[in-house]
């Protein structure tokens, strides 16, 4: 019996997967990204963003190992160990990942393949623009039509929730309501936690801060922290450099397990319900300066079919 959430690829499908992996490898290679391979076995690490969802194995010494569940963390650890964390570098990877997630649905396997890049050692709007443009070209290479890239700034939600000065548990309840755009719950929670005035108004505005360039002006009114304002200026500079990429925005994106510190992005295509790509900047999180993105091979195949 084959374990749940795993698949065999044969014939035409296997060929198409190989061709797509090849096309993406060439695209990233031509853009100056060098190949990297990292082990599939990792030491157990409770600080890992996917620690709870990763497969665990027992080593011969009795110590617990984790099966690789994500490339960014694995690559960052490898670069730190090799003393390359501060040096400018362009890396690309492709390979299998595993998660214990119980349900296997469209593009949601327990053993799946990701292809991605990391741009390490630099932090600038220019670097982010390079990645956004490359992400868009990757979607074109994969044959995904009419893709749109959505950009978010985690500092928006984070700094506003911090400004409310609430205990961690209440903050988490607010974050969840913002992320689900559950405005009625959000209003109730703010009442219950006694959040008032400008902070309340700004938090309530977050779920609806999405759309085209018109939300940027609105976002500027809502940005209370210095960092959020700087991030907006940074984003404006990125946009100026990649005018060819169709871009939308959502400043109410507030995922939970994130190492991202700067601009984050996803890609959507009409008539496919799930995002095709995800990435962002994570300066100071795993590495001093770094940003990258990853594409899910199975989802890409599904969306391009």
């Amino acid at each position: 019996m084959r374990p749940e959430g795993t698949r065999v690829y044969l014939g035409e499908e296997a060929r198409r997967r190989e061709a797509l992996l090849g096309a993406l490898a060439r695209l990233f290679d031509e853009a100056g990204y060098a190949p990297v391979e990292v082990p599939a076995l990792e030491a157990q690490d409770p600080a890992h963003p996917l620690y709870a969802r990763a497969f665990k194995l027992v080593d011969k010494t009795g110590e617990v190992l984790m099966l690789r569940s994500e490339f960014t963390t694995a690559l960052a650890k490898a670069l730190l160990a090799e003393g390359r964390a501060r040096r400018e570098g362009r890396y690309r990877y492709a390979g299998r990942l595993w998660l214990r997630e119980a349900t296997a649905e469209v593009g949601r396997l327990r053993e799946f393949t990701q292809v991605g890049v990391e741009l390490v050692g630099v932090s600038s709007p220019e670097a982010d623009a390079e990645l956004l443009a490359l992400a868009y070209r990757a979607l074109e290479a994969a044959g995904v039509g009419r893709a749109v890239i959505e950009v978010g700034l985690p500092s928006f939600v984070h700094d506003l929730l911090e400004a409310a000065r609430l205990p961690a548990e209440d903050c988490e309840a607010l974050r969840r309501a913002v992320d689900r755009k559950a405005v009625p719950e959000l209003a109730d929670l703010l009442d219950r936690f006694g959040v008032t005035g400008r902070v309340r108004q700004a938090i309530l505005a977050l779920p609806d801060l999405y759309g085209g360039p018109e939300v940027l002006a609105e976002a500027e009114r809502v940005a209370l922290s210095e960092r959020a304002k700087l991030d907006l200026a940074w984003l404006a500079e990125v946009r100026r450099r990649v005018s060819e990429v169709p871009m939308i925005f959502d400043f109410g994106m507030a995922r939970r397990f994130d190492y991202y510190t700067g601009l984050t992005f996803r890609a959507y295509t009409p008539d496919f319900g799930l995002p095709l790509l995800g990435g962002g900047r994570y300066d100071g999180g795993l590495l001093p300066f770094a940003a990258g993105f990853a594409l899910g091979l199975e989802r890409l195949m599904e969306a391009a079919a």
Binding site: V148, E150, R180, K181, A182, V183, P184, Y210, D271, L274
Partner: protein, 205 residues
């Protein structure tokens, strides 16, 4: 830009259909409860069991839908839920036989997910049995020493000689929207959400 709407059959259907139409969404007409789907010029409609709405919307088969908060919480699906439509109010409660005060060892429910989360939050170790209907019978017959079930008016409970002990969740109908659809079909969805919020607000005041 075509939209696909998933509506729940049963007690939420009429009110959902009416609320969406009143907010300006043109919905194809449905001949009767046995119809499964209907095509329209601008909007397609699919009819589902209440608990099946979240998965259709999360995976983008439907762009939006209406579902009770109870079923939404139970599903654990990753969706936007921008509007509390206000109707279909009910509560999920812990129900026991009058006088039962012993520890809870076995709980029966149509909502095993919510029940388990509630038990864990309370630090209670009890088995959860998933049932598909007439849940109160589990308490009456002794299959379980407590049940978690929907209470609307409490009449059914009283008739069965049971007692509502604690409200676990208050539920109303929610508008749910697929994450991609909200962004790529914002032109149609944003104004719809605004009108539904306005209508829900004036209904409350």
């Amino acid at each position: 830009m075509k939209l696909t709407v998933a509506l729940p059959k049963g007690r939420l259907f009429e009110a959902s259909h009416k609320a969406l139409r009143a907010a300006g969404l043109e919905l194809p007409t449905i001949a009767g409860e046995r119809e499964l789907w209907a095509r329209g010029d601008a909007t397609d409609l699919i009819l589902l069991r209440n608990g099946d709405v979240p998965v259709y919307v999360e995976l983008g088969i439907a762009d939006l839908g209406v579902v009770g908060k109870d079923n939404l919480e139970e599903s654990g699906r990753d969706l936007y839920e921008p509007v509390d439509l206000g109707f279909g109010a009910c509560r999920l409660s812990l129900i026991r036989r009058p006088g039962d005060a012993g520890p809870i060892r076995r709980v029966a429910s149509k909502y095993p997910g919510i029940t388990e989360r509630w038990l864990r939050a309370r630090g209670l170790a009890a088995d959860v049995i998933k049932l598909h209907g007439n849940v109160e019978l589990a308490a009456v017959t002794g299959l379980a020493d407590a049940v978690v079930d929907v209470v609307e008016t409490g009449t059914t409970l009283r008739k069965a000689g049971l007692e509502e002990r604690e409200v676990i969740l208050r539920s109303t109908a929610r508008l749910v929207v697929n994450k991609t659809a909200l962004k790529l079909k914002a032109e149609r969805l944003r104004p719809l959400i605004a009108r539904l919020r306005q209508a829900a607000k004036s209904a409350r005041s």
